[in-house]
């Protein structure tokens, strides 16, 4: 599973960093860093983070074109 954050929408509310700290981490005061490939044990946490984001900046899904390599 992969995740992407629309950094134009992100306002640094950090709900994601609170709910899935192994995937999302605040960098400095305002910017967000994340791991695009979601570790297997973190799927539920990332789902919650995506739902909780006040600006709905997080998209999670199967890796696009995975069968295409």
């Amino acid at each position: 599973m992969n995740v992407v954050v629309d950094l134009n929408r992100c306002q640094g509310y950090a709900q994601c960093a609170f709910l899935a700290p192994e995937v999302f981490m605040m960098h400095g005061e305002e910017s967000l860093l994340y791991h695009p490939v979601v570790p297997d044990g973190q799927l539920e946490q990332v789902r919650r983070a995506a739902v909780a984001c006040p600006v709905q900046a997080i998209v999670m899904g199967e890796e696009a074109g995975a069968g295409a390599r």
Binding site: V3, A64, A66, A68
Partner: protein, 225 residues
């Protein structure tokens, strides 16, 4: 897809973010015909912003920024092959491997490329990089891992400024050469540009504005500019 045919053959040239999201939207709106995506890079669609952030900070591998898909696509992927031409009369895309891809409708979503250094021999020196692809990000990150004495960033736009920031965060000496009066002036204007300059210098960037780099020096390996 109001009023548009829902079948036939759509070819999308460009298999990155735009191509992917366009393909998803077509399926979402009911397109049921044949969908083909052609991409120059061998990787499936991946996210570029992390390449100048978490990848250069060493937190994420350059090969691990694949984009999530919003839905199943039922598409044919032709990756690792460049589209070299278009025959608009016969409605065919021409590929570098000699193949031809017929279409009823075509979307060109090939994006941009990093502006190459104007002197190819200098740009090919080991240690000289542009940053656009995951492959370039991987090699640049490896070079930063090796602990260069100093990094020179030519251009203080968003990408250059982020690279400088990553270098400083890794404790590397970095000089930024910017033609304009301040970083990010083109994107953000003079007031925010001046603020960005102050921010960079506060964090130890050797920022030089109003400076144009005219040549890269080295013999096989970059040694200066």
């Amino acid at each position: 897809m109001h009023g548009e045919p829902r079948d036939g053959r759509i070819v999308i040239v460009g298999a990155s973010l735009t191509g992917l999201r366009a393909a998803e939207k077509l399926r979402e709106e009911g397109f049921s015909g044949s969908l083909t995506l052609v991409g120059e890079e061998p990787q499936p669609p991946y996210d570029r912003p992390p390449l100048s952030k978490q990848v250069l900070l060493g937190k994420v591998s350059a090969d691990h920024t694949g984009l999530p898909q919003r839905r199943e696509l039922d598409a044919q992927w032709k990756l690792g092959v460049r589209a070299t031409g278009l025959d608009p009369i016969e409605k065919r895309v021409l590929l570098a491997d000699g193949a031809e891809v017929p279409f009823d409708r075509l979307l060109i979503a090939t994006g941009t490329r990093a502006r190459p250094w104007p002197h190819p021999a200098e740009g090919a020196l080991d240690g000289a990089f542009t940053l656009r692809t995951s492959d370039e990000a991987r090699r640049l990150a490896e070079h930063l891992d090796a602990g260069p004495r100093r990094v020179l960033v030519i251009g203080a736009g968003f990408t250059g400024s982020e690279i400088a920031s990553a270098c400083r965060e890794r404790g590397l000496a970095v000089t930024v050469a910017e033609r304009g009066p301040a970083p990010l002036v083109g994107a953000l204007g003079g007031t925010l540009g001046a603020l960005a300059a102050k921010l960079q210098r506060t964090h130890g960037v050797d920022l030089r504005c109003g400076v144009t780099v005219t040549a890269l020096e080295g013999d096989g390996r970059l040694t200066g500019a």
